[in-house]
Symmetry: C3
Subunit: 139 residues, 3 copies
């Protein structure tokens, strides 16, 4: 079974879509299964991370923004692919470093996530984007 999830982003950061996944998987009435997610972009990522304290999301964004600063930062002067602005190539680098696909076992019709785990799209670009995540579910 295949579905495409669409996520509208407005600037860098984490966008949770766990509830949409929970509903879709539940509706398919599978018992034990495997859910696979793929983000169809090279400047956004998928992340399974803590769903309790929103400060975790802020800190994650802050860390990766410092590790891979905009091309205008003196330390990034060697970058060449900067046609779409200073956040262009750093977004590709973050998309290389963070997951593009995730495999999530399903047990009794529910994703076998830990108590504190949520599923996020991690947007790396500044401007608004419409992102697509393909979901594959095999019973």
């Amino acid at each position: 079974m295949i579905e495409a999830f669409r996520i509208e982003t407005h600037g860098p950061g984490l966008y949770e879509f766990t509830p949409e996944l929970v509903d879709w998987v539940a509706a398919k009435s599978v018992g034990t299964a495997l859910l696979t997610l793929l983000v169809r972009h090279t400047s956004a990522s998928l992340l399974i991370q803590e769903n309790a304290d929103p400060e975790v999301r802020d800190d994650l964004h802050a860390f990766f923004h410092r590790l891979v600063p905009p091309a205008t930062d003196p330390s990034m002067g060697y970058l060449r692919h900067t046609y779409e602005g200073p956040d262009d190539m750093p977004a590709h680098i973050k998309a290389a470093m963070l997951p593009v696909s995730l495999g999530i076992p399903v047990v009794d019709g529910r994703m076998a996530l830990g108590t504190w785990q949520g599923v996020y799209l991690f947007e790396h670009r500044n401007r608004p984007h419409r992102r697509q995540v393909v979901a594959h579910l095999a019973g």
Copy 2:
């Protein structure tokens, strides 16, 4: 088929559980199959890495400890999620950067790993933890 592997950790570093996986997969008598692993935590990771020289494991831990130092390090002063100690938020960052799930093809009832590849849980927290990895095997 579903199994939960439990791994007791006592401080940061790599904990191998390849033999447990080999035994479980062999007992299932599958020919060609797909094994998917998911760690059910946001402060530990899964890693496929060199299983020969233990210095590789030490160096891996040393590198990531320098790349993402404790919150007490002056360079990490911007972190806000530090309620559980200086290793709290750095553990989330490492868990974002390193794999949370792995897909491993199985051929003739054995994981198709390379000669030097072992499967590890990478613990990022200082205190002892009981970690859980969900394994899904589909023939």
Copy 3:
């Protein structure tokens, strides 16, 4: 279904093998399916990245070469596993940080990649290598 893709490398950087994957998947006449890739080495990675501008590939290599410099760099003096040269342990670190496995949904017999996504082997060693990627396809 299982296949092994062989990729000859001559120095660090990204080597695309999307066309070989497209042909193999197409020949299997699956409709909806899941393709899983695993690189059988601990000093090379898999990457889904932009397939248009080759400068993206150069910039990716440049960034990770700066983030994890050779063992001869003063900042890496703590590394111990350096038997095969200054690119030995940095290659393991990059292989830990970047994907070892990828899950790619297949729809209508084609990988559900985005328009700009290609599949690459990312070689981290300086000397020529023959790399192997195992592919598993389940319909």
